[in-house]
């Protein structure tokens, strides 16, 4: 119980620190929303008018910074996240995020789980038959692909499967814009089709890490006495592999996975950018470009909370799974 309380306290402290940084760092950035809007309106509208326009949307640059900070903390916690003063001038931040969130969760979330599952499995098998044919090919191959910059992989895939094939797989958007969204097979098919290339890019570039760590954990675990014991007792190979070795080798990977789930929400900025995929990563990019404080600070807040919650759950789960963590107290 004491462990849980301590973790909870740490969570709140980190959250406060992160929220404070989220407020101040964007405001130390060069540029301001008025100039960003001036660029986007191609200088047609005078600065004074733009200032007036932004203040009618709730932008108060001249207010006392302390007061702004207190308002901000209150608004973040109470869910009054404000109105965009950037690209989507006038749109409530909640609705902008509401539109982008499902796409990011769907694309990056599912791909992360898939990469983790596949990577772990390949790692287990490769580690079990160390030096075998599979071990000789897959881990080195995916270590190489995971070192490739993922926007480059994305462009390569677009070239190979979209440009050269005359548009076999779509290279932009999340679904065919001529379709009415709904639960029809055509629409769902279109969504899946549009997800193939971005998902493949993420998979290719992220699976290597899981394979490598799982394989190495596996090899370390295989050298343990209890594995040798299992083998000596004549247990079936499959049982030793999954029940004795993999199960223990899996633990460190699991905490890594919890962390990476926290990062899912921040999307994959470059992938969304290259594939014209309207998710949270792209949203963050455009918020920073346009000095859109309300949108930026809400996104940062969500990212922080997602990572912190994931870490908290991971801590609690480890405490529950591993008696040694509890025993230390």
């Amino acid at each position: 119980m004491k462990h849980v309380l301590r973790r909870g306290g740490f969570f709140l402290l980190t959250l406060w620190a992160a929220l404070t940084l989220n407020f101040f760092i964007p405001r130390f950035m060069p540029g301001d929303p008025v100039n960003a809007l001036r660029d986007r309106t191609r200088g047609k509208v005078s600065e004074a008018t733009l200032q007036q326009m932004l203040s009618s949307f709730g932008f108060k640059p001249n207010q006392n910074l302390g007061q702004q900070y207190l308002d901000y903390l209150g608004n973040m916690l109470s869910g009054h996240w404000g109105i965009s003063i950037g690209q989507a001038l006038g749109e409530p931040v909640t609705s902008i995020i509401g539109q982008a969130l499902p796409w990011t969760l769907g694309l990056v979330g599912i791909t992360t789980v898939l990469a983790f599952g596949l990577g772990t499995l390949i790692g287990v098998v490769a580690g079990w038959k160390r030096g075998g044919r599979l071990d000789a090919i897959l881990p080195p191959l995916f270590v190489v692909t995971s070192a490739l910059p993922y926007f480059w992989v994305a462009l390569l895939l677009i070239l190979m499967f979209s440009v050269w094939t005359g548009g076999l797989l779509p290279s932009d958007f999340n679904y065919d814009t001529s379709l009415v969204p709904g639960l029809s097979p055509g629409f769902i098919g279109s969504v899946l089709q549009h997800a193939v290339l971005p998902a493949a890019t993420l998979l290719i570039t992220s699976i290597g890490g899981w394979i490598l760590t799982m394989r190495n954990n596996m090899i370390t675990t295989l050298a343990e006495d209890y594995v040798r014991m299992g083998r000596a007792k004549g247990l079936p190979a499959r049982k030793v592999m999954y029940g004795y070795a993999a199960r223990n080798a899996f633990l460190p990977n699991l905490s890594g996975f919890a962390m990476s789930l926290g990062f899912v929400i921040s999307g994959a900025i470059l992938i969304e950018y290259v594939f014209n995929y309207p998710g949270l990563g792209y949203l963050l990019y455009s918020a920073v470009q346009n000095v859109d404080y309300p949108l930026m600070q809400t996104l940062f807040m969500l990212f922080t909370v997602a990572v912190l919650v994931a870490v908290l759950i991971c801590d609690l789960a480890t405490a529950w799974l591993d008696p040694r963590v509890r025993a230390k107290e």
């Binding site: 191609r42 200088g43 989507a88 006038g90 609705s95 509401g98 958007f173 814009t177 709904g182 629409f187």
Partner: protein, 567 residues
């Protein structure tokens, strides 16, 4: 917008229920595309039908806000749904096309203008349009200053707007001729019956306007974050128009995907830079064309403040402008897609009649002259053995500008200027440029007008500058010349011929003082596909600025387009 999407979902669910099989995939607005009802005989030269898809990267998903007073949203409604009084064609000697006004009459000193408002126009919700709506629109800008985007009630000195019968009178404190372009062409007329009720009346500046009611040729139907679909307004006041029945406007987040869709033919109307256009786009199909007319200058902005010793020295600036081979910069840096500029600051061939060729050649700036440049630079105390080190700031990601600056660096090295290029993020660049914290900046004004006056006044009028350290409006180089200011002041009341001669005097100052160094001309990016769509603006028929981001020009283009397959 959220409401709309749930309604669509509900509609899809209803279809599932009634058809008892959830297997129908619905395409948007299927019926509008197939209509080819109107005959050509009495309505005009083309039959109705067809769809055009716009590929104009705006770096955002659509917010489905169409308020014409919201500068972040009006590109998607001005010209499409909302219309101005008179359309002014920037590319064709300010040729005017009457839109919601059939004509106008200035008084002698141009302090008052009477518009005659068109009869028989209807808003797309069926209500009648009248002079009241026009007067209401202008008076709204007085009540809510945030909607007065062009400072008509402040800078232009607008004093009253009244409607009587089908006439609307605008009265100004001083001559308002230079503002004609803004109040006649750039201000979109809004419906009184919508903007005087409910949320729209309470906050006309921040109101979303998700279902815009306008007089224009198209209606939003429907809008989603990914795509805006416009369908033709069946009761449009120009009988028989628009020919095109549907416009798709997908939301592109980046140039890459936008250009890919142009190359594949999925989109027909392009409005951004395509690198390697010959191979990437033009070579793909004989139906792919490009015509990007120049409208503004891209220039080196020297800092003229005395605290910046080198760039405030006239001989240094003269040496730079004499040394740069602009046609090289254009062909290597811009791949020939942006033409070379000239020291007069007049964009050619767009504003040919204002150009004073003799002034430029008399000063020897009509062709590069490295020998003269070397001599000028040595008079300022610099030479190849004792070079002048200058840093030019530019914007990260503008790769064509980087290439252009690389060419200039090569050209300036032999005369004794060691140019180093500093790429800055847009926001950092803006801050430095606006506050005068630089030696040289590579930049182009973002907006001009139907004559060179607009751009030159932005750049040169001392009213648009500010001391170093404070943010300047548009005169970033900090040029102050009372004689030039006076020329701009006279322009307001002058007749056409005098205006041309006034611009020529401004050009003389450009050549003499070299306040900025124009290098290339920025263009309205425009690519178009003619396999099904005809009627595009061309060099021979420049009836409007061709890029989809030009408003209200985009509306003019849409009124000319027609589908060949529907004929």
């Amino acid at each position: 917008m959220r409401r709309r999407s749930t309604r669509l979902l509900a509609a899809a669910a209803a279809i599932c229920l009634t058809a008892s099989a959830c297997s129908s995939t619905q395409h948007r607005g299927g019926s509008a595309a197939t209509s080819s009802s109107a005959a050509a005989s009495d309505n005009g030269p083309h039959k109705k039908g067809g769809t055009v898809t716009i590929s104009n990267e705006q770096g955002q998903t659509w917010t489905c806000r169409f308020n014409p007073f919201n500068p972040a949203a009006y590109l998607e409604s001005n010209g499409f749904v909302y219309e101005p009084l008179i359309f002014v064609d920037e590319l064709n000697n300010s040729a005017e096309t009457p839109m919601l006004a059939t004509g106008y009459q200035w008084n002698a000193d141009k302090t008052s203008i009477v518009f005659t408002i068109r009869d028989g126009v209807k808003w797309n919700d069926g209500q009648a349009f009248s002079a009241d709506d026009v007067a209401f629109t202008f008076n709204l800008m007085k009540q809510v200053p945030a909607t007065d985007l062009y400072a008509l009630w402040t800078a232009a000195g607008l004093q009253s707007v009244t409607a009587a019968g089908n006439k609307v009178t605008l009265t100004f404190k001083q001559s308002a001729q230079p503002y004609f372009y803004f109040f006649a062409d750039q201000v979109m007329i809004v419906p009184k019956h919508i903007f005087s009720a409910g949320d729209a009346a309470a906050h006309p500046d921040t109101w979303a306007d998700a279902n815009p009611v306008g007089t224009g040729p198209f209606m939003v139907n429907p809008c989603s974050p990914n795509n805006i679909q416009y369908t033709a307004n069946p009761n449009y006041w120009q009988t028989g128009k628009p020919y095109i029945q549907k416009v798709e406007y997908p939301a592109y987040l980046d140039n890459g995907p936008a250009n890919l869709d142009l190359a594949s033919g999925k989109a027909q109307w392009g409005s951004q830079f395509i690198p390697g256009i010959q191979q990437f786009y033009l070579g793909k199909s004989a139906d792919n064309h490009t015509w990007s007319p120049p409208v503004l200058n891209v220039s080196l902005y020297p800092n003229l403040d005395p605290s910046h010793k080198a760039t405030s020295t006239l001989a240094v600036r003269q040496a730079i402008t004499a040394a740069i081979d602009r046609s090289q910069v254009s062909s290597i840096g811009e791949g020939g897609q942006e033409p070379a500029a000239n020291q007069s600051g007049v964009v050619l061939p767009t504003f040919q009649k204002y150009y004073d060729a003799s002034a430029v050649s008399a000063a020897g700036y009509d062709k590069p002259d490295p020998a003269k440049a070397k001599q000028l630079l040595s008079s300022a105390g610099y030479s190849p053995s004792h070079p002048l080190n200058l840093t030019v700031i530019t914007i990260t990601g503008y790769t064509d500008w980087d290439a252009s600056l690389a060419v200039m660096k090569q050209e300036l090295a032999p005369i004794g200027i060691n140019l180093s290029v500093s790429d800055l993020a847009q926001q950092t660049f803006d801050t430095k440029l606006f506050t005068g914290d630089y030696d040289l900046a590579y930049y182009g004004q973002l907006t001009g007008g139907p004559t060179p006056y607009y751009e030159l006044r932005e750049i040169l009028d001392s009213a648009n500058t500010a001391p170093v350290g404070q943010s300047a409006n548009s005169n970033y180089e900090r040029y102050k010349n009372p004689a030039v200011d006076a020329l701009f002041d006279q322009y307001a009341t002058a007749d056409d011929a005098t205006q041309v001669s006034l611009i020529k005097q401004v050009e003389a100052a450009m050549v003499k003082d070299v306040p900025i160094i124009p290098v290339t001309e920025s263009v309205d990016w425009f690519q178009y596909n003619t396999s099904d769509i005809g009627g595009w603006p061309t060099q021979d028929n420049p009836y409007a600025q061709p890029a989809a981001f030009n408003f209200p020009d985009a509306g003019q283009v849409l009124l000319h387009l027609y589908s060949k397959s529907a004929q």
